[in-house]
Symmetry: C2
Subunit: 469 residues, 2 copies
């Protein structure tokens, strides 16, 4: 039995690890396009900021750790074609020669590619000019090389999603003045505007020049750096002179290899897979950012996240060995730290829930993270979305300070969503309490109780049998 995995990131490595764990007699080869298997690309902003002192520390496991599991790694090796009928993977070796690797089972984890938006001049500029995209370790080295060479004092970031926000923090920590340009009405567009506004304030507080409802239209070189033109949605012209431009506006699935082999495309062009991670091509599985995401509330969508890639890869690795497991599905649980704020979400926002056929209603409340009498209590903004008809919990969004245990509070909601709890039933959960860290009804429950009071109190009252009164 020879299992071949393509991709050295979360999905490929997770699949390979699971296969080796389940059957140490299985031969496992991982084909990696670069020299950096199992690197944490989520950690790149913290390397750029200087908080991670050496890029090698970004490896989840070292090359030696991976070899010790018994898997073989073929680094700097690019998968060019899948010969499905012949069960062979065609590759280009580091020296330019080609090879065919025979497999019994193949797992494809080619991941995603950074989106290059339509900006005039962007195609003609490169990292040598201080214009960067950021997704891979190669991109990271190019950026640090620019930072060393240019010694920028002014940078402009196109995009204010997770990576854009983390990079705004990272470049600010290096003493660089950051201008951040976001097309949508508010930064962190994955959360409600009223919550994104809190992150916006945090950016401004830390010296970031934030432009929302604004698009970068043109980038050009000047004698001293880069000139950037933009426009607001109102048509107002914007211009900036900076030393460095970073374009981080999201990713698209890297599906070329699979589509050419005959796989089908689904939402946003990602490869359609079953919940078993089967592609429909015999003996070919796929996982991670290159495939669609099964979502427990939305069905089949595309929502690339490292946590999801780990889970999908694990499922693919098990099934490739003859297992019969399925990916349980995503809830889109996400968290980001931006300076001293943490923002998290799980499940659906109202517009997503409406599109999925629910009847969402929401309530935002700001319970303290712990008892106000104990020093250091801070409010957490929590927005609960539930179904008006069934009372089912549909989603939660949380923003608060770094010490407020936001990232693990969202996990309680994620676990509740996993089990299709009602908002009301959250009150039944036996959550922990000590005054320095919580409340007798945890903030998680105070938020759901407020939702119930606003949206279900009349229904609760109607259940009382009036004859006892």
């Amino acid at each position: 039995m020879h299992l071949v995995a393509i991709g050295g990131s979360d999905a490929g490595i997770s699949a390979a690890l699971r296969a080796r764990e389940l059957d140490p007699t299985t031969e496992v080869t991982v084909v990696v396009a670069d020299a950096y298997p199992n690197f944490s690309i989520c950690g790149i902003p913290y390397y750029i900021s200087g908080e991670v002192t050496h890029w090698r520390n970004l490896a989840h496991r070292t090359h030696a750790d991976l070899k010790a599991t018994g898997m073989k790694l073929r680094l700097d090796t690019f998968a060019t074609d899948i010969d499905v009928a012949g069960q062979r993977l065609l590759v280009r070796n580091p020296d330019g020669s080609t090879d065919a690797i025979a497999y019994d089972e193949l797992i494809v984890g080619t991941g995603a590619l950074p989106i290059r938006p339509a900006i005039d001049g962007l195609e003609d500029l490169s990292t040598a000019d201080g214009v960067h995209l950021l997704h891979s370790m190669g991109d990271t080295f190019a950026l640090t090389e620019s930072l060393d060479r240019i010694q920028p004092t002014r940078a402009l970031i196109v995009g204010a999603g997770y990576v854009g926000l983390e990079m705004a923090e990272g470049l600010t920590m290096r003493g660089i003045h950051v201008t951040q340009v976001e097309m949508l009405p508010e930064v962190l567009p994955t959360v409600e505007v009223e919550l994104g506004a809190l992150v916006h304030d945090e950016l401004v507080k830390n010296g970031v020049d934030v432009h929302t409802n604004s698009t970068v239209t043109k980038i050009g070189k000047t004698d001293t750096g880069l000139h950037v033109d933009g426009t607001t949605t109102d048509g107002e012209a914007l211009t900036w002179d900076v030393d460095l431009v970073l374009v981080v506006v999201g990713v698209r699935p890297d599906t070329d290899l699979l589509i050419r082999a005959g796989a089908q495309a689904g939402p946003r062009g990602a490869v359609l897979v079953e919940e078993t991670m089967a592609t429909g091509l015999p003996h070919v599985w796929a996982a991670g950012d290159c495939v669609v995401t099964h979502h427990r509330l939305l069905g089949t969508t595309y929502l690339p996240l490292g946590t999801t890639a780990h889970k999908q890869g694990r499922v693919a690795g098990e099934n490739a060995l003859g297992g019969a497991v399925t990916y349980a599905g995503s809830l889109g649980t996400q968290v980001v730290k931006v300076f001293d704020l943490v923002a998290a979400r799980t499940g659906l926002r109202e517009h997503e829930a409406t599109a999925a056929g629910f009847a969402p209603v929401s309530t935002t409340t700001t319970p303290d993270d712990h008892k106000a009498y104990y020093p250091g209590a801070t409010p957490i903004s929590i927005r609960i979305t539930g179904d008006a008809n069934t009372g089912r919990l549909l989603g939660a969004q949380l923003i608060g300070t770094r010490g407020a245990e936001i990232s693990k509070r969202v996990d309680t909601y994620a676990t509740a969503l996993f089990h299709e709890m009602t908002v009301s039933a959250m009150t039944e959960l036996d959550l922990s309490y000590t005054p320095p860290l919580g409340s007798p009804w945890d903030a998680v429950q105070m938020a759901t109780q407020t939702w119930v009071k606003e949206h279900q109190l009349d229904a609760e009252r109607a259940t009382l049998t009036k004859d006892t009164k």
Copy 2:
């Protein structure tokens, strides 16, 4: 409709609030034995430590807040008897006169009393001598009065459970040298000895003189303070000279009123109630530390906790108005901060699980709270207990540093236990991840995955269909 609640602490107030919320036409009277309704007795250690600057801040709600809900409060009023047939509560007023309060429904939340252990001399000593128990606001004022009067430099605490540990920290913060004496083999006996040992180390690191396997046998007055005799389980004699003694060895249910009215006693003498909080006496409900605890894994037990009292009170308040809800049950979720450590647990430990008919096996592991490459990562000791036959999650214990989000990580396990998840299925949960706050598989999942590897890998391997190889 007149609802009367006895008790100004969690259960009584929670019941009264729920009743007023559900039916603002219901007249609600709360009979409170002292002058401190809705005070957070869990916060007392932080008032003693000086972190809470005024005792009034310990109120969850002020007297005015409570009145604003429309409930009536009768303070310093002691419930002496329940006339069940006549639906009247007999009380002694602050001026010594007696009264009978007619009720349609009665909710009893008399709470618990501190246990006074058998120590020679204890009966003859009082707060005037610097010997204290600690449970109520009255006890708190007596203790602060002693602290002001005696200006102790040396204190001895009998007991190293939650309150004992918090008080060790609180008195240490006041500059008092603390000796802590625990009868059992390790401090914080609610967790495994190997985890309690970490708390022990934290106490020692902060200057507390800890004696485990040791019993205080005698307390007596001297010219300058108090002389305490003890013995180790090996029979070795111990003696201490201190200025203050605090005895905090747990509580027992305060059931006198209900038992005299005809209610039945259950585990540890607590009043037996249905999951509806019905006592079996017509129109009499009870909730909180005076009643038994329905536990989702253990059945009927006694496990007094503020979080439980809040939930039970809420159920009693609703059902007294004609509702038909049940208390969903406790999982014994608890957390305590001891200096810079946080210890938490939920569900069962092995000996409890064995007694309940499970086949528990456990694994302790120490995953980092977040990615090691990001500054400040610290290990969390996590002990997972699961059923060897069914794979069901039975319990989790966690100890780590204060910033490691222990208290909300235990909540993920508590929510999983609520839904009777298997240890293995924890891997399917879509938990949040960002490098400064977590890992792609959160510490919660790394711990459960290690349990699965140790106890179920052979079973997982057996599920692979061998013909695909």
